[in-house]
Amino acid sequence: MKGNAIYKVPEGKLLRLSLELKGKKISAIQIRGDFFMHPEEGIEKIEQALLGLAVNKGIVEAVRKAVGENSIEMFGLDSNAVFEAVKMAAGNAK
């Protein structure tokens, strides 16, 4: 199943998220948008950290862990925004 979401982060930028689900677990994910992240390669670390997770469990924690481990600074999005976008995308997955 594939799903997409466009999520406007409150006081932030526009997050566009695409994911693929195998059962309830994320098998592929891409986070796009007009936000900023330092280092820029952090986006791939965050995406990798979400692979294999169920959409309603552990998303925020996984993002926070990836951020901490890779000293990532995010502007215009945060771990909650990623969670909201994941839920949205999963919600309209078909």
């Binding site: 466009i6 930028k13 526009l14 566009r16 891409q30 986070i31 796009r32 948008g33 007009d34 936000f35 900023f36 992240m37 330092h38 280092p39 820029e40 986006i43 600074e73 502007f75 215009g76």
Partner: protein
């Protein structure tokens, strides 16, 4: 007085412009003079942020029809249509402490070069976090920064004139049903030097004003220089990357 190097590279294509910015940043060594560069885009071009999806942001067919180049930046941020604008870039090392370590503060500091430049043109602008410069409540400049290899690169635009309709004929909107409303809304939130001063400004006038603006911000003299042979070579090689389909269609 401290000296910075000033580069005026004139009009180049999108891939060359992005390659020069990256080459200057990559080759910048601690102790080198910071570089301020002013440039423009020919042909007109769209640049998208590092994290954006090219096909969902840009009407690629229409861009091709209008001979507008499309390039992915190494900096984040949004899609920008580069037409009648002055583009600047700023490179220094993090260790030099010329800009604050804190990212938001560094945006503010570098943007103040443009704000001071606007004052030279008798336009009152202000910095709005994270990365905008506003005049009379409307955006006149967008900026984007990256930090790599211990160096800071920030580049940004200053709108000399703006055509929101033309811009949106080349960009996609999140919801096509809302296109009319979105375009109307952007028209109210974006401005240009022409609109704010009711005058035309030549690129040269604006560049001179921005030069004074950066000199005031940093207490430095901007001395006109050139790209080194090494920078030119690296830029030529990096141009290849920016022109590659794999790079631009990465996301």
């Amino acid at each position: 007085m401290t000296e910075f190097r000033l580069l005026e590279t004139g009009f180049s294509d999108a891939f060359t412009n992005m390659a020069i910015d990256e080459a200057v940043m990559q080759l910048h060594k601690k102790g080198d003079l910071p570089t301020v560069r002013f440039y423009a885009w020919k042909p007109h071009a769209i640049s998208i942020g590092y994290f954006q999806g090219i096909e969902e942001e840009v009407d690629l067919q229409r861009s091709q029809e209008l001979d507008v180049d499309v390039v992915r930046r190494i900096t984040g941020g949004g899609a920008v249509f580069h037409e009648h604008e002055l583009t600047y870039s700023f490179v220094c090392s993090e260790e030099s402490k010329i800009v604050p370590k804190n990212v938001l503060e560094s945006y503010s500091k570098i943007c103040s070069g443009i704000v001071n430049g606007l004052e030279e043109l008798r336009v009152k602008g202000g910095f709005v976090p994270l990365n905008d410069i506003i005049v009379n409540g409307k955006k006149i400049s967008g900026n984007a920064q990256t930090r790599r290899g211990g160096n800071v690169l920030q580049h940004g635009t200053l709108l000399l004139e703006v055509s929101v309709d033309k811009m949106f004929s080349l960009l996609k909107v999140p919801d096509e049903k809302m296109r009319g409303k979105i375009v109307q809304s952007v028209k109210k939130r974006v401005t240009s030097l022409e609109l704010e001063t009711m005058r035309e400004h030549s690129f040269l006038d604006v560049a001179n004003a921005m030069q004074k603006g950066f000199e005031k911000t940093f207490g430095a003299k901007l001395v006109l220089g050139e790209l080194t042979t090494e920078e030119k070579k690296l830029a030529e090689s990096l141009r290849g990357k920016f022109a590659e389909r794999d790079w631009n269609f990465k996301r």
